[in-house]
Subunit: 330 residues, 2 copies
DNA sequence: GATTTATTTGTTATCGGTAACACGCTAGAT
DNA sequence: ATCTAGCGTGTTACCGATAACAAATAAATC
């Protein structure tokens, strides 16, 4: 492996000089500069950032902890984050928490062991005591994404899920619906989904329009669960005019069941999802949903990181707008 | 920041002893073990892997370079890869090449500067000379994913895109179609897509069934481009009975245009995509497509990495199966 | 009780880079 | 000619860990 010393030897200077030349610091004559560059080039030298970071005590690494990389919203966020951090030579390493506080704790420990310059983590999870202690002790600049409701003095970027529930409720009430249901899945661990549900239910209830809440802590948040629980809802009996689902995947599952059962959508039943379907995938039926722009979150996070690395303190609480994304199911 | 020395001081032993205890190496009495553990716990010590890696000359880092994180297939691969590498305390670094050889070169350099123990990169891209030189020089164990056609002595995991084209052609021919078209987009940089196209065209041509090839190097591979190019295809005149698209997004765009134009699908025109739509998102119309299981690729990659880190050499060329994923558009 | 052997712990050097400062040299001021 | 600046380059110490070996302590053997 080629090291600074190798380059120094070839260029007949000290390692320090090479270090200075390659980083563009200090005063170096043009003559030695070119000699060093040539030597580095000839040897194909690539600096060892592990050593560099250890020495400078700053790492150029950004740690990202999210529930799941396969989740489009997070993939989107990371993608735009990457392209913006790239220019500043900040590298991204990722870990999945799977929405589990215990896993989160372990992963944060792993991530911190690389001494990142910044930590991005998804909020909306009930972190363990130790996790909080760890973050406090390490005092890594960090930002919490996705959960815009619960700043608690943290730097936060994300939408308000309370507002999402309210938007959904308002939408149904403005359509004049009097019989509305909510369909969810396991939400003990997902504080954001819980908040959407609670605020939705509260507003619908206040209007006297709530007929049913179908949730099951033992089913995953997938299309199949949407099918299952919607079937359960239909069996329960009460006529329903509008259903708000935990997410788009479940809403699509629900849609399938409703259509198969002969319900007309949106004439008989309106269906509303949350965050997930992409316009790219829409052929005929487009699910009406409430969504946030992941790229926007990515940008806000990148801004905060670049500010922090530059020694400044970022704006503390950025609320991302939610939009009712009209389809043809409501 | 808490260091080994801090723990050692508190436990009244040397740093070496602490190091041994925490890594479980060497012979240490139970007595000191507990003292050390307690001290580490009390201080909330998290080892510094930068320092550790520098010392041991092995990094426990896995670098991943893919065209785009937002692409579901890669997100899927990374997700399963992460869960499998997690147990071995291997961390994942990601970077996007955007299918651009120049960007790839820069990103590989960035990634190599972290001295990863393993490099995963997506193939199907015409790497620059310098990139190849760099990889050769560094001699990092690495695996090439996605492109299963072109081993070139490399360790490779992925589907054969030549075969994908053949599967598509066979499918159309078995349906008895005599007028078949291909619709693509910019593919100079994407060797895999080119291979699919070429082998598809060759086989369709051999059967005398090719009526049109519509590609445009200046449009991105999105649904909108599918719409645009399908419109162009329809305007061109020749009657078409089957269209194979570069990917699912474009196929879905095409579907929209075809349906709007009054074509019945699949009665009048059959539509076939490649890799992308998820069953989760399907409501009524499900695009027939050819796909590979990203999780399977992830597993194969994880196996190779774990073997490599364990000092073994992995199997060199794993061809992932492609399946014709039936929908209702062919 | 002396010697060997096993067990446990500590010392020193090193990984590849960088900060801080020291040194040598040339050039202009006196 | 001597002194001082300032530029260019090198020295030394350290970042936080670990490998390899040395030392100290305890246990076992004769």
């Amino acid at each position: 492996m080629v090291t600074l010393a190798d380059v120094a030897r070839l260029a007949k200077v000290s390692t320090m000089t090479v270090s200075k030349v390659l980083r563009g610091t200090g005063a170096i004559s043009d003559q030695t500069k070119t000699r060093v560059f040539e030597a580095a080039d000839e040897l194909g030298y690539v600096p060892n950032r592990l050593a560099g970071s250890l020495s400078t005590q700053k790492s150029m690494l950004v740690a990202v902890l999210i529930p799941s990389i396969a989740d489009t919203i997070y993939a989107e966020i990371i993608s735009s984050l990457h392209s913006l951090l790239d220019r500043a030579s900040l590298s991204i390493f990722i870990a999945e928490s799977q929405m589990d506080p215990e896993v989160e704790e372990r992963q944060i420990q792993e991530l911190l062991s690389l001494r990142p310059a910044f930590l991005v983590r998804s909020g909306g999870i009930a972190s363990t005591q130790r996790t909080q202690l760890l973050l406090q002790r390490f005092d890594v600049p960090h930002i919490q994404i996705w959960d815009g409701d619960d700043p608690q003095g943290q730097v936060t970027v994300g939408p308000s899920h309370v507002e999402a529930g309210k938007i959904a409720a308002r939408h149904f009430l403005e359509l004049g619906l009097g019989k509305v249901a909510y369909v969810g899945a396991e939400t003990q661990l997902d504080l954001c989904a819980s908040r959407r549900m609670d605020s939705f239910i509260a507003d619908i209830n206040a209007a006297g329009a709530l007929v049913s809440v179908v949730t099951d802590p033992d089913v995953p948040r997938q299309a199949e669960s949407g099918e299952l629980l919607t079937r359960r809802l239909l069996e329960e009996g009460p006529k329903v005019e509008g259903i708000f689902y935990l997410n788009d995947a479940m809403a699509i599952g629900g849609l399938r069941v409703l259509l198969k059962a002969g319900c007309r959508v949106p004439e008989d039943v309106r269906v509303l999802g949350f965050n997930g379907t992409s316009r790219e995938q829409t052929i005929n039926t487009r699910l009406t949903t409430i969504s946030t722009d992941g790229h926007r979150i990515g940008e806000a996070v990148a801004d905060a990181i670049l500010a922090s690395v530059g020694g400044q303190v970022a704006e503390s609480h950025i609320l991302c707008p939610l939009t009712l994304d009209p389809g043809n199911t409501t």
